[in-house]
Symmetry: C2
Subunit: 250 residues, 2 copies
């Protein structure tokens, strides 16, 4: 679809007043980043977002949007919140009108946006900007610039949801190597939570969830005592993703 057609006739293809915004968090070696797009000609940064086709499932729309706008594939997205402030409309913030949009365009009206987040290993996920964007980049969560509309608030809410989800769902598959050490897993949790955790408590709690399998081999090559290697029990991990961590215990 051309940008002109999108701006003038978008409502023929998409549900009006409804959008999707995706907060793709990237983890690598102790850093947590988020994927941002820069609108061409506007010098404005925003989340990768888009709209829902009339006969498309909303969750499918989220996957399609991330793929179309950033090039990333096979991203596991979790819906986390719907943002329903009536001031969420570009007409209220004139300077943020996309180039070529008229004031009465469908895209200038009020939008309720559904937020999704994902957590990926960013060194493996190389983003590509789409036709609307001049850049698509991983930005450190501590250094996010002022974004359009309420996108900064959406990222805050997504970060809260990601952190709370550590209580409820397992995290780590696809982010760590297949075999990993306890300190590597702890570092992932510390990065997401942005705080130090007690080594012994962490080990005790994470083992009590019953989703880890300790291997006989140890990690080699370090200067200190070789640490044990672990891997996720695939069946229990999947079960916990579906039912929550508490259900998987015992």
């Amino acid at each position: 679809m051309t940008i002109k057609k999108f701006l003038e006739q978008g409502e023929r293809y998409f549900l009006p007043h409804l959008s999707i915004d995706c907060v793709v968090f990237g983890f690598h070696d102790g850093h947590l980043k988020v994927l941002l797009l820069e609108w061409s000609d506007m010098n404005e940064w925003c989340l990768p977002g888009g709209f829902i086709q009339h006969t498309e499932h909303m969750d499918d729309a989220a996957v399609r949007i991330v793929n179309e706008r950033t090039g990333l594939k096979n991203i596991y997205l979790r819906q986390f919140y719907a943002f329903g402030d009536p001031l969420r409309q570009r007409n209220k913030v004139k300077k943020q009108m996309p180039k070529g949009a008229k004031p009465n365009s469908w895209i200038m009206k009020r939008f309720i946006t559904i937020g999704y987040w994902a957590l990926v290993e960013y060194s493996k996920a190389v983003p590509i900007p789409d036709q609307f964007s001049s850049q698509c980049s991983w930005v450190n969560v501590t250094k996010i610039p002022a974004l359009i509309l309420d996108h900064n608030h959406i990222i805050e809410k997504a970060l809260q949801s990601l952190r709370l989800s550590l209580n409820d769902y397992p995290v780590g598959k696809d982010l760590l190597s297949e075999k990993f050490t306890m300190p590597e897993l702890q570092r992932l949790y510390e990065t997401v939570l942005n705080k130090k955790l007690d080594r012994r408590n962490f080990q005790k709690q994470i083992l009590s969830l019953g989703i880890l399998e300790r291997l006989k081999e140890k990690k080699k090559g370090g200067a200190h005592k070789s640490p044990f290697l672990y891997r996720f029990d695939k069946r229990k991990y999947q079960l916990a993703l579906k039912q929550g961590l508490r259900a998987s215990v015992g």
Copy 2:
């Protein structure tokens, strides 16, 4: 608004394709119920739901909807999920057309619905049906009839969210007396989780959250040893509601 005007001109007042459905859970004396409405003339049960006015905040719409449809006031609602299946439309399930609605009416189209839940003390919350409904009743969560559209699925998801939220947020204020015993609080958790909890583990975990205050007085009148009375520390309870339970610890 008359029913005729609502069906014919609803889009003048409400955002199209968007609805809200509220799952109001009621707790009392070991029972967990949910508030359901019966459509007049249709013999169909459903959740109390409604639509978002063009300039209204979505969260305000949810509060208004519960009030208008059930008479309940001051309900603390938590948004939990948006349901985006393209089959969510009354045109796909002909028998569920509201009396007086035409096939091309706005209300027959696809709706994405935003789910909210609340937990109240049902013996204190006496519901009143609105003009669209012949009944508004508390129904035991284990005895819910077949509801319209995907409303049974919405209740299941709300129940999952309510149960997970026990890990993240405090529960009990406005559901128990101001002063309560540890067994009374445990019974509330057991009712919501629908399982027995170990007395000692429960007490240890709930005290570790730091939101309870043990009083000097004990409960009188029982046959056995008088149990201690507790109450919530208001400041810490409110903080935990905002920031999550983990943040309130320490």
